[in-house]
Amino acid sequence: MALRTEELILNVGPQHPSTHGVLRLEVELEGELVVKVKPHIGYLHRCFEKHAEAMTYPQVIPYTDRMDYLASMYNNFGYVIAVEKLMGIEVPERVEYIRVIMGELQRIASHMVALGTYGLDLGAFTPFLYLFRDREKILTMFEMTCGARLLYNYMWVGGLSHDLHPDFVRLAREFIQYFRPNIVELNNLLTYNKIFIERTAHIGILPADTAINYGITGPMLRASGVNWDLRKNDTYSIYNRFDFDIPVGQGHMGTVGDCWDRYYVRVLEMEQSMRILEQALDQLPEGDINSALPKRIKPPVGTVYQRVENPKGELGYFIISDGSLNPFRVKVRGPSFVNLSVINELSRGHLIADLIAILGSIDIVLGEIDR
């Protein structure tokens, strides 16, 4: 009689060192091979959308901070331009520039966490702390400007909560000077490390058509070789004024759309963000930041879907207004939420260790998946 065998079901999470929060992956394993991954989410559900219906428009902003808490600035950004579009507000130049500067700094900070924790997932502890050390500088700049390090509530509908700190421009320039060599160091320490390449190249390959069908966006989509960046392709704010490239996965070390590409696209994006930053800092106009602040935020009846290029992908706000002070419905299309849904497709047939590598390369933030 043949020995009866069956798949081993392993619960990775909700408490697990590398699920980046409280995510539970129900993994069916055949030895160490992954047969099926079934993600269970919702452990961090904080009823953002229900809350938003009971809040006035400005009161929603602090809640948006708490979704993708590693990219709060960009969450604010998306929300305020959605409401501005609904109300038809034109914001002053200076505000637009400051928003872009903050957004790009936030993108660098978010990518730092993504890259650092990715190294951590693969066992390299040191790059993680180097990146956190540098991220601290960005957070200090944010703190100087708006007083908070993580949850900013900085961008308001029609303006900003504070003008830039007088030292900000100098510090931002210094940061760019300081951080460029550190990217090289990171590349030498981690990106081009043979073990790291072996762990990530040819792993979790995401073909472009699958990526589009799954609605994957952001660095993950670009790593699959699709030249798609909302900052260029569906431009918002003043991104059309800047000269920057969209890094696309080339498959340098393996196949296009593997984990290494997803990692490396983020490294290159930090460089591009610094280019935007430099231009924005050079062109930064003077002016009053509060001139377009509306007295009362009461948008007309209507719907709006505004999407922005969050560090993790397309962050969309679908707002229905019924003409009152509170939004009738706010639906958030979180990039991590959509990106995570592809994990079963990516990790089937790989090893357990690859599952961790793939999960890390998606760069999820559970605060935004569960909202």
């Binding site: 009161q59 929603v60 602090p62 040191t126 200090t140 320490l189 081009y192 490390n193 043979k194 073990i195």
Partner: protein, 207 residues
């Protein structure tokens, strides 16, 4: 075969490159600090624990309405006309006794939305960030300067005042009505009175 040796070489070489970088960092001064002994200087815009300067508060309730998490609770009682509450530092006249101004710091999300609407700039965020407590109740900060008895007294006063006022009003109305009735009676008694003049019916006031 060539790939094989290349792999071996790359494997060793990139390890050495990495080791060189980490070795250099052994001698870089550390960026962390000894926190409770050494503290990072905070920028002036820093957003930490809320503070309310009650001398300036006029009890307008705007901060409580702006708060997205409803952590501010304000109760006010109108002052007596003879009481002078003084003025705020920017010249606004105070007209309300703030009998209750509680901020539940445990709920506070440090968004600073309450700070901007304040007309007298009396609520603001300080740079105090070490205020952990063992009990959640201890994080309920009571800013009102009035004691419980005083509050009661003020309320009583106001109620009394209100009642008096109302009584006065009622009396006035009554007097008016009586006067009107009298006038009517008088007018009726006079044969050549103005026909267009109409007397109001006495109002029923329930207080």
């Amino acid at each position: 075969m060539k790939q094989y040796f290349k792999n071996t070489w790359e494997g060793l070489w990139t390890v050495f490159v990495g080791m060189k970088i980490t070795f250099k960092h052994l001698f870089v001064p550390s960026v962390t600090i000894q926190y409770p002994d050494v503290k990072v200087p905070l920028p002036e815009r820093v957003r930490n624990r809320l503070y309310v300067n009650m001398d300036d508060c006029i009890g307008c309730d705007q901060c409580a309405r702006a708060c997205p998490v409803e952590c501010i609770e304000i109760e006010t009682v109108k002052s007596m006309p003879e009481e002078d509450l003084g003025k705020t530092s920017n010249g606004k006249k105070k007209a309300l006794w703030v009998t209750k101004f509680n901020i539940d710091i445990a709920k506070c999300c440090y968004c600073q939305l309450c700070v901007f609407p304040c007309p007298t700039e009396c609520i603001y965020m300080t740079d105090v960030y070490e205020f952990s407590e063992f009990k959640r109740e201890d994080l309920l900060y009571k800013f009102s300067t009035l004691s419980g008895e005083e509050t009661l007294q003020k309320k009583e006063n106001f109620e009394k005042f209100q009642a008096e006022k109302e009584a006065q009003k009622a009396a006035e109305i009554k007097a008016k009505a009586e006067a009107a009735a009298k006038a009517k009676a008088e007018s009726e008694s006079k044969p050549n009175s103005d026909e267009t003049k109409q007397s109001e019916p006495p109002k029923q006031e329930n207080s």
